[in-house]
C-alpha cells in the first residue's frame, strides 16, 4: 500500500511544507526548524525507496499511474528505476544540508527563502519520478521559478541579472523541447514515457528519420543547457557566484544529465548514437576548458563553477560512449558531483560567513586557525580530484575505462583534465590554507566550525568515503539501468530488421 503512494508522498511533502511555512509567524527560528524537519522527513521517506527496491527486476518500481487530464491524455504516472531512485535520495539528502547551510546566512525574509527552497525540492523530485512526458515537462519548468526568484532575492550584488540570465538561458530551449514533446504526442497519441519508448522502438518506419533527429536534438539542447555542456555554460559561473549556497548546490548537473539519460538515450537511442561523436568532442573540450579556466579564477565560487563544468563533462563523456561501465561511471559521477560539489560550496560558504569574501588572494594560512575546516576542505578536494578510496575515483575510473576503447585520442586528452583538476584544487588549497597568514585572516578572529556546520559536513564526508569503498551498494541498482541503456531493445530490433 505504501509502495503505491510513496512517490507521491515524497514529491509533495516539501510542497505541503512550503505552504505551512507561508503561514508560520516570523519569530525566532521557527521557520528554520520547521523546514529542517520537512527536509529530514522527506529524506527519511526517500530512504524507503532503496530499502524496498527489488533489485534485478526490470522496469519501473513504486509506480502510480492515474488519469489526470482526459484530453489530451495526460496521466499522473510516477515511477523510479535504478537511476532515478538514487537521484531522489540524493535530492532528499542534500535538502537538510541546504537548510543548515542557510541557517544564519539567510537572516532576512526567511519565510520567502524557505518557501521557495521547499518548492524547489518538490519540483526537482518531480522531475526525477515523472514518467509522463507532460508531467515531467511541468516539473522541469517549475524548477526554474524558485531558483530564479531566490537567486534574484539573495544574490550578492548582481543577483537579478544572474537570475534573468539563468531563466532565459534555460527557458528558450525548453520551448523547443515542448514542441518536440507535442510533436511526439501528435504522432503517437500518448505522453506516457513507457508507451512512447515501446512505440518508438517498434514502429521505426512510422517516423521520418529526419524529423526524429530534430526532435531528439530539441530534447538534447534543452538538457545540455541545464547540465551545462560546453559551449552552453554561459549562465553557470554567474549563477554560482550569485546564488545562495543551498541553491548553488542543486542548480547544475543532475537534472540535465538525468534527462539526457532518461529521454535522449531512452527514447532516441539511434539518434543519440548519431550525435555521439560530437558530444564526446564537446565533453572533452568542456573537461579541458573548464579545468583551464578554473586554474586562473581568483574567486572560489567561480572556481567551483568551472570545476563543475569540467567534471560534468566527464559525465557526458561517459554517457555518450554507450558502454556499460561508461554509463555506470557517468551515473555514479552524477551522484558524486552532487555530494562533493555540495560539500565544497558549503565549506566555501562557511568561510564567506566569517570573512565576507570568496577572493582567494585575501586568504592565506587559514589551516592554523581552522584545522577542522581545512581538513574537511582537503578531503572534499581529494574527492573532486578523484583520489582512490574516495567516491570521485570510482566514477572517473569507470568513465575513462569505459570510453577509452571507443575514442582513444579524445579520452587520452580527457585524462589531462584529471591532472589539471588536481592542479587547480591543490593550488587553491595551498593559497588559502597554507603559506603565510594573510592580513585579513589575522585581523578577523573567527572561530573554527561550530556544531551546525559539523552537522552539515560530516554526513557528506562519511558518504564520500563510503561511496569510495562500498560502491556496489549503489551500483547494484544503477547497473541494471545502465545495461538497458547500453543496448536498448530499439537498436537490437533495428539490427534484426536491417
Amino acid at each position: 500500500m505504501l509502495n503505491d503512494s510513496i512517490l507521491t508522498i515524497i514529491t509533495f511533502v516539501p510542497a505541503a511544507g512550503a505552504i505551512i511555512v507561508a503561514l508560520l509567524p516570523r519569530q525566532g527560528r521557527i521557520i528554520q526548524w520547521f523546514s529542517l524537519a520537512v527536509a529530514l522527513v522527506t529524506f527519511g521517506l526517500a530512504l524507503h525507496l532503496p530499502i524496498n527496491y527489488v533489485y534485478g527486476q526490470p522496469g519501473f518500481q513504486f509506480e502510480v499511474d492515474q488519469a489526470w487530464i482526459p484530453n489530451p491524455a495526460i496521466r499522473y504516472h510516477l515511477g523510479v528505476d535504478g537511476i532515478s531512485m538514487w537521484l531522489v535520495v540524493l535530492t532528499g539528502f542534500l535538502a537538510p544540508l541546504g537548510v543548515l547551510a542557510s541557517w544564519n546566512k539567510i537572516d532576512h525574509r526567511t519565510k520567502e527563502f524557505y518557501f521557495f527552497f521547499l518548492l524547489q525540492q518538490t519540483a526537482m523530485i518531480g522531475v526525477f519520478v515523472s514518467l509522463d512526458m507532460f508531467l515531467y515537462y511541468a516539473f522541469w519548468e517549475l524548477t526554474l521559478v524558485p531558483m530564479a526568484i531566490l537567486i534574484s532575492m539573495f544574490g550578492r550584488d548582481r543577483g537579478t541579472e544572474a537570475a534573468i540570465k539563468f531563466f532565459v538561458y534555460t527557458f528558450l530551449p525548453s520551448a523547443l523541447l515542448l514542441v518536440a514533446i507535442v510533436w511526439l504526442y501528435a504522432k503517437t497519441g500518448t505522453f506516457d514515457f513507457v508507451r512512447l519508448q515501446s512505440i518508438l522502438a517498434q514502429n521505426t518506419a512510422a517516423f521520418p528519420p529526419q524529423a526524429l533527429f530534430w526532435a531528439s536534438l530539441a530534447f538534447l539542447v534543452a538538457f545540455a543547457v541545464k547540465v551545462p555542456v560546453f559551449p552552453l555554460h554561459g549562465w553557470l559561473s554567474d549563477v554560482f557566484s550569485e546564488a545562495p549556497t543551498a541553491m548553488a548546490m542543486v542548480v547544475a548537473g543532475k537534472l540535465g544529465l538525468y534527462s539526457i539519460l532518461r529521454f535522449n538515450l531512452g527514447l532516441f537511442p539511434a539518434q543519440a548514437r548519431q550525435v555521439a561523436p560530437w558530444m564526446v568532442a564537446l565533453a572533452v573540450i568542456g573537461i579541458l576548458y573548464g579545468a583551464l579556466v578554473a586554474l586562473v579564477q581568483k574567486d572560489m565560487k567561480r572556481l567551483a563553477a568551472f570545476s563543475t563544468v569540467s567534471s560534468l563533462s566527464f559525465c557526458i563523456l561517459g554517457i555518450f560512449c554507450f558502454t556499460v561501465s561508461g554509463l555506470d561511471g557517468a551515473i555514479y559521477q552524477i551522484l558524486n558531483e552532487g555530494i562533493s560539489v555540495g560539500s565544497l560550496l558549503l565549506l566555501v560558504g562557511f568561510m564567506y560567513e566569517r570573512y565576507g569574501t570568496y577572493e582567494i588572494a585575501s586568504y592565506g594560512g587559514l589551516a592554523k586557525r581552522m584545522p577542522n575546516l581545512a581538513t574537511l576542505f582537503v578531503v572534499t578536494s581529494l574527492s573532486l580530484v578523484g583520489l582512490p578510496l574516495l567516491n570521485g575515483f570510482v566514477g572517473e575510473f569507470l568513465i575513462l575505462s569505459g570510453s577509452f576503447a571507443g575514442h582513444v585520442a579524445w579520452v587520452s586528452a580527457a585524462t589531462a583534465g584529471v591532472i589539471l583538476s588536481a592542479a587547480y584544487m591543490l593550488w587553491m588549497i595551498q593559497r588559502v590554507f597554507y603559506g603565510t597568514e594573510s592580513g585579513m585572516v589575522t585581523d578577523v578572529s573567527a572561530p573554527d566550525m561550530n556544531f551546525r556546520e559539523h552537522a552539515a559536513i560530516w554526513p557528506i564526508a562519511v558518504l564520500m568515503l563510503l561511496m569510495g569503498v562500498a560502491s556496489p551498494i549503489w551500483m547494484r541498482a544503477i547497473d541494471g539501468a545502465a545495461v538497458k541503456l547500453a543496448s536498448p531493445a530499439a537498436l537490437v530490433h533495428m539490427a534484426v530488421t536491417q
Partner: protein, 490 residues
Amino acid sequence: MNQVPQAYRILPELLLTVTGILIMLIEPLMPPGMTRKPIGFLALGGVVAALIASVWQLGLPAGTAFYGTVQTDAFSVFFHVLICSVVLVALLIAFDVFDGSKERPAEYYALVLFGAMGMCLMTSAVELLLVFISLEISSIATYILAAIRKRTGKSPEAGLKYFLLGSFATAFFLYGIALTFGATGTTNISDVAAALPNSPVPGFATLAVAMVLIGLGFKVSAAPFQVWTPDVYEGAPSPVVALMSTAPKVAAFAVLLRITYGAYPQLQTHWLLLVWIMAALSMTIGNLGALRQHSVKRMLAYSSIAHAGYTLVAFTALSGEGIAAAMFYTATYAAMNVGAFAVVSHAGGYDDRLVSVADYRGLAYRSPLLGGALAFFLLSLIGIPFTGGFFGKFYVFTAALHSGEVWLAVIGLVNSGVAAYYYLRLLMSIYGKPTDDAPVQLIPRLKGSLTLALLLTVSATLILGIFPGRILAMARAGAATFTGASENTR
C-alpha cells in the same frame, strides 16, 4: 416551435440592464456626502444574478428567440459566464479606488453594467445587426469608462483616442455587414453560410470577411490594428483597464469565432491567411514592443497584444479543437490579466503612483500577498506549468501543430520565450529589496474587496492550470454545438 419563453434567452442581459437603470435612478436620490458603497453592492448583486442566470440557461434546450436573432447554447453560456465573472472582479477592484475619489462611482457602476450587457449580448447574438448594436453598446460604455478620471489630463485623452479609433474600426465592421448582405441577401449568421454558395457576387463576401476581421481585430487589439492599445491603457484608470483589456476582447473573440466559423466556413482559405498574418504580427509586435517598455501598464498593454496573437493562432487550427483552444485561451487570459491589473490598480491607487518597473521594486517586501499574487500572474503570463497560462498556450499550439501550422507554432513559442524576459524583469523587481523612500512604501493595506478579487483570480488561474480538463470540456461542448450548427447548414 420552442416552448421556452423568449425572455429567458436574454435573462442575464435583462438583469444587467435593470440593475444599471436602478443604479442611475437611486444615485441622484442619495445625499452628496454619503458613501456609494451600497450602490456598489447593488451592482455586484446584479452581476452575480446575471452569472447565475447564465448558468441556468445551460439547462434550457439550445435554441433561438426573437425571430432568430438571439441564440443560447453552450457557446454563448461559456462566454456569458466568463464575461460576468470578469465584470464581477472588475467591480471588486474598483470598489475602493473609486469610492474615495471625487468622481461619481455610481456612473462607473452603471456604465460597467451596461457595457457588460452589450458584451454578453454580443456572444449570443446570431444576427449581424444585433451583433453590431451590442458591440456599440459595449464600446460606448468602455469609451466613457476610459475617460472617467476627468480631473487628470491623460484619462480623457485616452478616452478620446479610444473613441476616435474605435468608431473608425466599428465602421469597418458595419461595412463588412453591408457587404455580407450584398453578397448573400441576409444578415443572419447561419443563413449566410447557407446562401453563400449561390451568391451572385462572391467577391463581396471575401471583402466582407476582411472588413469584419479589421473591425474586430481592432477590438481585440491584434496587430496591425493595435496602435491605440498602449496609450489608452496607460491613460485610463487601472480598474477600467482591468475590465477593458479582458471582457470586450473576450466578447469580440466570441463574435469572431461565430462569424468566421459560423458564417464563412467556406471562405476559410481566404480568412485563414489574414488570421495567420495577424497572429504572427501580433505576437511579434506585442512582445518586441513590450521588451522596450519601462512603464508597467504599457508593458502589460503590449503583452495583451501578444496574447491576442496567441489566441488567433488557435483560429488557424481548422477544427473544433481550435475553437475550444481559443475559448480556453480567452478564459485563462481573462483570469490572469484581470488579476494582474487588480494588483496594478491597488498598488498604483487612484493616481497611478507606481509607473515604471523600478517603482515596483520591493512590492513583495511591502505586501507579500500583493507581490506574490502579481508574481503568480506574471508566471502564468509567461506560461509556467501549473498555471492556466501554460495550458492555454499548450492547447493553442497543440491545435496549431495538429493542423500542420508548424511555423506559426514555432513563431509563437519563440515569442513566448522572448516574453519571459520582460515579465521576469518585473517579477525580479517585485522581489528586489526596496529603498526606504521607495514608492511601494506608500501602498495602503489590502481591503477585503481586493483580497476577494485576488482570491478569485488566483484560484481561477490555478484551477485552469491544474484541472484544465473540466473547463476544456465546457469549451469543447461550446465548440461542438456551434460547429455542429455550421455543419448542418452546409
